[in-house]
């Protein structure tokens, strides 16, 4: 009998509490509440994003909620967003781990009148107003090629290490690199493109092969992050430190040792802290109605005026981390 009662009591909970009105819980203060969703919470990349976001929130006098999954459960991002919807936040800024799944929750938020913006990794376009784009393919490709050229005196052979030959992102960047080289650096020659399956070991092995196959090689350009330290290790072991330049797209923290030793000359990435800062600035502007569809530029406070292409807010050209500045960054 008691068990029946318990079960019955349990069943009535949703009904009883559904009757309660939310009432004045959100009233009173006019403080903007911005919710920031990372792909995962422990990831140093997103911790750095949060740092920048906090700076922006402090400038705006807004309340910042930062929460994300701690494991790979695909339901977590959705649950966090749905929690925020019922918390009544003003705007949600999300980096999508599971594009399609998260879009379901973000659409719900928009239907409830909450503004949605994405950053770092976009959701489906109908699930958000704007995407804060940390780097365009053109920006990344140009930065890599320009760095390779300036390090080699704009002449000689270079090779590219990529994730795999079918990776869409990487192929887009490689096309930009090729176009930039043809246009600006006619004395340079791309001799080979090798896949490393996004593995450091494989990248090291492929670089060793490249070094023996092309004795005149001047630079290795890595377009996936595990390949940068992989290539550096191979160049170091071959005793070609400095003779063959290593540059690539990756996290400063993963490459710090090689950069300091002079094996890796340049690591290209955006300033992650700025990405967090810009995201919060844009989110707040969106919530206040200052940022509208069709805007051509966006005033991002300390970052200055930034270009908006369609519904993409561009963070700008990537940043080059080298021996001089890499110590200032910890992501």
């Amino acid at each position: 009998m008691k068990r029946i009662l318990c079960t019955l009591a349990l069943c009535t909970v949703p009904f009883l509490s559904a009757c309660k009105k939310s009432g004045e819980s959100a009233g009173g203060e006019e403080k903007l509440t911005i919710a920031l969703l990372p792909k995962s919470k422990g990831n140093q990349y997103f911790v750095t994003c949060e740092k920048g976001a906090r700076v922006a929130a402090a400038e705006l006098g807004a309340e910042l909620l930062f929460d994300g999954p701690t494991n790979s459960d695909p339901a977590k991002q959705n649950e966090i967003v749905e929690n925020w919807i019922s918390l009544g936040v003003d705007v949600i800024a999300a980096a999508a781990e599971n594009k399609d799944g998260l879009s379901t929750a973000l659409r719900k938020a928009r239907a409830e009148g909450i503004e949605v913006i994405t950053y770092d990794a976009d959701a489906q376009t109908d699930a958000r107003s704007f995407f804060v784009n940390q780097a365009t393919a053109k920006g990344i490709g140009d930065a890599l090629m320009d760095n390779a050229a300036s390090l080699t005196g704009a002449e000689g052979e270079f090779a590219i290490l990529t994730a795999n030959l079918t990776a869409a992102n990487q192929n887009e960047w490689i096309e930009v690199i090729k176009a930039r080289q043809a246009e600006k650096y006619p004395n340079m020659k791309l001799v080979d493109i090798k896949p490393c399956d996004d593995q450091k070991d494989k990248a090291q092995q492929e670089t060793t092969n490249l070094l023996s196959a092309y004795p005149n090689l001047k630079a290795v350009v890595a377009v996936c992050s595990p390949a940068v330290p992989g290539a550096a290790e191979a160049v170091k072991q071959a005793g070609k430190t400095g003779a063959v330049k290593v540059i690539g797209l990756g996290l400063p923290s993963e490459n710090k040792a090689y950069v300091k030793e002079g094996v890796t000359q340049a690591v290209i990435l955006w300033k992650v802290e700025d990405l967090g800062y810009l995201t919060i600035k844009a989110a707040a502007a969106l919530a206040k109605g200052e940022l509208k569809a069709g805007a051509a530029e966006f005033d991002a406070g300390k970052l200055g005026k930034l270009a908006v292409e369609g519904d993409n807010i561009l963070l700008g050209t990537p940043f080059t981390f080298n021996k001089e500045n890499i110590d200032q960054f910890d992501f």
């Binding site: 008691k2 309340e63 459960d73 649950e79 918390l87 009544g88 599971n98 399609d100 799944g101």
Partner: protein, 355 residues
């Protein structure tokens, strides 16, 4: 019930009767107490979160508490008969991943209707549960090891089918409504949950098969001598668990709008937590479905409630930002306390009889 440890073959049926009837009063009072304690815990949680949290008892949030945890609730229901038999099923979370992926493939690549695909997904869950049942009930292998094996096997299959990265989406809105709409003010999937809860409650507390689960858990040998088809009934518990995991997978996919290989990752442990918190003995033999429901509710309210506390700080962060870590810790503490209550009560009772 503690005195009857040794018994002859011909005494077993009377013993079983004792387990099911005569021993009931003492067992029942213990369980009742446990459930009352849980009710108090839940009430305290609600009071705490309502006073500290933001819009905790808001209609949408109350819906969310259930919507976000219903899969774990289903797994906890499925796990109850299994644990009552003295077994364990670690594979249900992985089974969800496999069923979710299969469902996605059926709809996206085989162009099946979601309903048919859902039935097939539940069927696959049943088959997977059948594999557990075969190994555990037929070949008498230890449930912990068998389901540890299928835990890896099912997740591995799900990852192989998607090559680790592929996910399925683009399901029709009519299907997504199962995970995201309300019927009569209550999330659609909660109705399914209540139906399953009623079914499991009837099975465990009102049917002979269900009662035999406890008998098996209390003493498999005794149950066999009493003429209970132990293998068949034991197998049934695992098959049922597989089927319910399949159902939970479909509901999860409907909520997320996406089917991935890592669906349901870690859910089996949360389900076991809810069951044990609900007062079911991990050694089998005693426990109730009502307890499981309360255990599940206590965990679900805790998980949700912590994420509503934005005004108070912990480690320089709003509590809502460390809610997941905190709820993990508190759930663990709650579980340990729940486990400690029985021996403590016994020790106290023993001391009282001495004096």
């Amino acid at each position: 019930m503690s005195t009857c440890c040794r018994y002859g073959v011909d005494e077993t049926s009377t013993l079983l009767n004792a387990v099911m009837t005569a021993a009931k009063p003492s067992l029942k009072s213990l369980l009742a107490r446990h459930e009352v304690v849980l009710l108090i815990v839940i009430a305290l949680e609600i009071l705490l979160f309502q006073s500290l949290g933001r819009r905790f008892l808001d209609g949408t949030n109350v819906s969310n508490i259930f919507r976000h945890s219903v899969e774990i609730g289903l797994l906890a229901l499925a796990m109850t008969p299994v644990i009552l038999t003295g077994g364990i099923d670690l594979s249900v979370g992985s089974m969800m991943g496999l069923c979710a992926v299969c469902f996605g493939i059926f709809v996206n690549e085989a162009a099946m209707s979601p309903l048919l695909a859902a039935l097939l997904a539940v069927g696959i869950g049943t088959l997977g549960g059948g594999l557990n049942a075969l190994l555990i009930a037929r070949f008498q292998l230890p449930p912990l090891i068998v389901t540890l094996g299928t835990f890896s096997l099912f997740r591995g299959l799900a990852e192989a089918l998607t090559k680790g990265s592929k996910s399925y989406s683009g399901f029709p809105d009519s299907f997504l409504a199962l995970g995201n709409s309300d019927i009569a003010g209550v999330p659609a999937q909660i109705w399914i949950f209540l139906l399953v809860a009623l079914g499991i409650w009837l099975l465990v507390h009102r049917m002979t098969i269900g009662r035999s689960f406890r008998a098996i858990g209390y003493s498999p040998e005794g149950a066999r001598y009493a003429g209970i088809p132990v293998r068949r009934n034991l197998g049934l518990a695992y098959i049922l668990a597989g089927a319910i995991a399949g159902l939970a997978a479909v509901i999860l996919v409907a909520r997320l709008g996406e089917a991935r290989a890592n669906a349901g990752i870690g859910y089996e442990l949360l389900a076991i937590t809810a069951v044990v918190l609900g007062g079911t003995s991990i050694f089998g033999g005693s426990g109730s479905v009502g307890g499981t429901l309360l255990g599940y509710l206590a965990v679900a309210v805790l998980n949700n409630g912590l994420s509503r506390i934005t005004a108070y700080q912990l480690f320089d962060q709003p509590i809502s930002s460390v809610a997941r870590e905190l709820s993990g810790m508190l759930t663990g503490l709650l579980l340990l306390l729940a486990l400690a209550v029985t021996p403590l009560a016994k020790a106290l009772a023993a001391r009282r009889t001495k004096t």
